[in-house]
């Protein structure tokens, strides 16, 4: 039987109050706030963050497959999972797949992971769902949508058993994006709500309960995906859920995170679950997926694993809607005639993929000292071509020195140029920039950690690397 061995999540640092969006458009704001991926984040970088959170304390060599789910993968043709696996330092001989096309992609990936584990109980599948969808400026979607990611490891043993699952497929044009669309589109609101979401959730829940001969009272918590607060309230009322049965939909704190949403809610519910709890997970998108989760044992409190709860606590409000426009590149914005367009080279990135994606330092076999980026000839003892590699991505450290560079072009100036000393016995320095920070609070010696980010879009593709950030 498929079980959940570990969970992780990621909520971006930046939040925008919905009243500020309402202010910008002179329209009635919804309540709460939404989480916003930084200008240097996308569904791939958030997936790496959630994956790191989930893998913390887990032996990566035991992962056999990585399934990535998103409706906002940066590439239409080119696999995201392979890139994420490289950044997470997963074994080379793993199976990778991207799930896409539907808000159900996240739970579709869990279904596939369960099948993989059923076929071979020795497998461990890392499932990561991540999304950063855009609503048309001024639309309801713009206020509702948020960005985030969740991850779980599915194997044949673990603290949470997946007892049952159910699926049905539905063809309906309720919300969609064509290959050319940047923003999510929808049909008339009443139709989308009544014939799409409500009708399908009702069908799934009633069919499943009837077949199982159970009732909703049998579940400690119902983890119910809903596209927005209003739909959520309506469906919770329709299903006659008790107040304590309702899992926080995260719509007030994060927003609707698309294919990642049901998984983020599930990760959040497992953070709070007690042994013996039974959960019903419901996801919607061109049909429904349902799962029954039996909590056999609570997940231990790993302080390194931040999950939804940890990341929700760490936040910074962006000042205004104009900043949001810049972060999401919704308008062409003047950045000054300072430098020509960013340059890149696919062959360089391929040659250096371990250093670039995995943040590997060289450890000299002659003197034992570390250096990043790795050098063929040791700086300290001149030993040539004798070094091991050490992954730095998961290390924390301190800011040795910095500057606030307003000349360097950035969507979010100033660039905090940083010299970081990571907490390793041998000592190692990383030269990088800082992300997810408040420039006014940056100080020498402040604690920092590494974070996977998009550095640039150049030559028509995306260039990823690591930055530092104040410890979240």
């Amino acid at each position: 039987m498929a079980c959940i061995k570990s969970t992780g999540a990621y909520v971006p640092f930046h939040r925008l109050k919905r009243e500020e969006i309402g202010r910008a458009w002179g329209s009635g704001p919804l309540s709460g706030e939404k989480a916003i991926a930084n200008y240097d984040e996308d569904s791939i970088t958030m997936a790496v963050e959630a994956g790191m959170d989930c893998l913390s304390g887990f032996n990566r060599e035991e992962i056999n497959a990585l399934y990535f789910a998103s409706t906002t993968a940066p590439y239409r043709e080119k696999q995201a999972a392979a890139l994420i696996a490289n950044a997470l330092a997963l074994p080379r001989n793993i199976s990778t797949a991207d799930f896409s096309g539907s808000l159900r992609a996240g739970t579709n990936a869990i279904m596939a992971a369960m099948d993989a584990v059923s076929a071979d109980p020795s497998r461990n599948v890392l499932v990561i769902a991540s999304d950063c969808r855009l609503g048309v400026p001024g639309s309801n979607f713009e206020q509702v949508f948020g960005d985030g990611a969740a991850a779980l490891i599915v194997g044949s043993s673990g603290n949470v058993r997946i007892l049952k699952s159910y699926s049905h497929a539905e063809e309906i044009i309720d919300i969609w994006r064509t290959q050319e669309d940047r923003y999510v589109k929808m049909w008339e609101e009443r139709f989308v709500f009544l014939e799409g979401y409500i009708a399908n959730v009702r069908e799934a829940v009633t069919t499943f309960l009837r077949e199982e001969g159970s009732t909703l009272k049998d579940f400690t918590k119902v983890v119910l995906f809903a596209p927005d607060q209003r739909n959520f309230r309506e469906v919770a009322r329709m299903l006659r859920l008790e107040k304590e049965q309702i899992q926080n939909p995260l719509l007030e704190e994060v927003g609707n995170t698309g294919a990642a949403h049901a998984l983020m809610m599930m990760v959040n519910s497992l953070e709070e679950a007690k042994a013996g709890d039974r959960l019903l997970l419901v996801s919607y998108g061109d049909g429904c997926d349902l799962f029954v989760l039996q909590v056999e044992k609570e997940f231990s409190q790993n302080p390194e694993r931040r999950g939804i709860r940890g990341f929700l606590k760490s936040r910074m409000f962006i000042k205004n809607y104009e900043k949001y426009i810049q972060m999401k590149r919704l308008m062409q914005v003047e950045t000054g005639r300072r430098r020509p367009p960013a340059m890149s080279s696919a062959s360089v990135l391929h040659r250096d993929r371990d250093m670039v994606l995995g943040l590997y330092a060289g450890k000299c076999k002659g003197c034992g000292r570390l250096f990043f980026p790795p050098q063929r000839v040791c700086l300290y003892c001149r030993t040539k071509d004798q070094y091991d590699t050490v992954r730095l991505a998961d290390k924390k450290g301190k800011l040795f020195t910095f500057c606030k560079d307003f000349l360097a072009q950035s969507i979010d100036p100033p660039v905090i140029t940083s010299i970081v000393h990571l907490d390793l016995e041998e000592g190692v320095r990383v030269f990088c920039t800082m992300s997810d920070r408040d420039p006014d609070t940056v100080k020498v010696d402040m604690p920092v950690e590494m974070t996977f980010k998009k550095i640039s879009e150049a030559e028509g593709f995306f260039n990823y690397f690591w930055k530092c950030r104040p410890v979240r």
Binding site: R337, R339, M343, L349, C403, P414, V415, I419, G427
Partner: protein
């Protein structure tokens, strides 16, 4: 190794320098012609007398022929030197070695850079790693040193910024007396302190401008110099030091010292026989691409005790009237920084100071002048030092 092998073997018999600035109406060739012909006229020789030439540029030309074309040389050896901001001075060093060897009698050295045709508000970009080292600027890399220097020496950033502003005020003041300088006006301490931040803690007046310009020198064996002119100076020594350049990555590099600059200075002092630089050097042209660079160079070259440069700035040691005037022509800050020309521009100022021809900037009885240019940034420096002396 005999670093002093060059001492007093080579003379500079003529020099030239264009107006530095945004030379919208001057091409690279125009500036080469202007600088070279001023040097020909200064030395009283014809271009036909030039037996070999060295040209220095970082990116404003391809090959030695870049000066062959505008100056119409007839099949003589010309080498092009590129050594980042050390380029112009390194062209002089290479040319001087050929003269000291006795191979050529009259050699022309030209340094040039055209930065203002790129359409960009700063330096042009060159191909580098797609992600590692991206997002950084020259002022940002130097600002890292300022932050750390203040931290290590317990200097509150406001106090540190004030000292840096004084360096900028000094260099602007000297520039106000230099007709060929990019900027020729005084600024106030308040202006410098209140200027927009470029890379905190560095503000606009802590940064040198983007400048076009060219400079040239004519050199010959010292014993032949009197046959051309009575106004010449002698090359006392050079220092050029480069290391692995991995300070940004090396945890042992602390950012408050410039090891390569220290080494280049020591080489030059050994070459010139200088024991006590602060006493023996009459004036110096330092590489103030950013004010923090000039501050750290005071210490690297032994003008100030380590960690104590602020005291000397406070005391006015490096002003025109001070004990050791630095950047008497305005430095990179006010005179400008056309990369390939900068090292020769520094020598141009020393040459005039040593010959007593520096006009309102003239210092009293100079004996030895030091020029120091350096490419790169803290942790990855490419410094070159030249010491020039009077013929007597």
């Amino acid at each position: 190794m005999r670093v002093d092998a060059i001492r007093d073997k080579v003379a500079i018999i003529g020099m030239g320098c264009t107006k530095f600035g945004e030379n919208w109406n001057k091409s690279v060739d125009d500036m080469i012609v202007d600088a070279a012909y001023e040097a020909f006229s200064d030395a009283g020789i014809s271009p036909d007398d030039v037996q070999a030439a060295w040209m220095g540029t970082m990116a404003s030309g391809l090959g030695g022929i870049s000066i062959g074309i505008p100056l119409k040389f007839r099949n003589i050896p010309i080498s092009r030197v590129e050594n980042a901001c050390a380029t112009g001075m390194d062209a002089l060093r290479n040319a001087s070695m050929s003269v000291a060897l006795g191979m050529y009698d009259i050699v022309l050295v030209v340094g040039v850079e055209k930065l203002k045709d790129s359409g960009l508000g700063g330096l042009p970009e060159f191909f580098s790693h797609p992600v590692y080292g991206q997002g950084f600027t020259a002022p940002g890399r130097w600002a890292l040193a300022a932050t750390r220097y203040f931290e290590i020496n317990n200097i509150p950033p406001e106090e540190g910024k004030r000292a840096l502003a004084k360096i900028s005020v000094k260099n602007h003041h000297n520039g106000s007396m230099s007709p060929k300088a990019h900027f020729q006006r005084d600024i106030t301490l308040e202006q410098a302190l209140n200027a927009p931040i470029i890379a905190w803690p560095l503000g606009l007046f802590d940064c040198c401008p983007t400048t076009d310009g060219a400079a040239a020198a004519l050199i010959c064996p010292a014993d032949m110099a009197p046959s051309f002119t009575q106004d010449y100076v002698l090359i006392k020594g050079f220092g050029l030091a480069m290391g692995p350049g991995l300070g940004k990555e090396d945890i042992d590099f602390k950012y408050d010292r410039l090891p390569e600059t220290i080494a280049a200075g020591q080489q030059a002092y050994a070459a010139a026989g200088v024991k006590e630089p602060r006493k023996e050097i009459s004036c110096a042209q330092l590489h103030d691409c950013f004010t923090i660079a000039e501050l750290l160079e005071y210490e690297a070259l032994g003008f100030s005790e380590p960690g104590r440069a602020l005291d000397d700035v406070e005391a006015g040691t490096f002003t025109l009237e001070g004990e050791l005037p630095v950047n008497t022509d305005g430095g990179l800050k006010a005179f400008g920084h056309p990369i390939g020309a900068t090292g020769l521009r520094m020598c141009y100022e020393l040459y005039h100071q040593l010959l007593g021809k520096a006009g309102p900037r003239q210092i009293k009885n100079p004996a030895l002048g030091l020029a120091m240019a350096q490419g790169g940034h803290p942790g990855m420096l490419m410094p070159i030092v030249t010491i020039l002396g009077r013929k007597d």
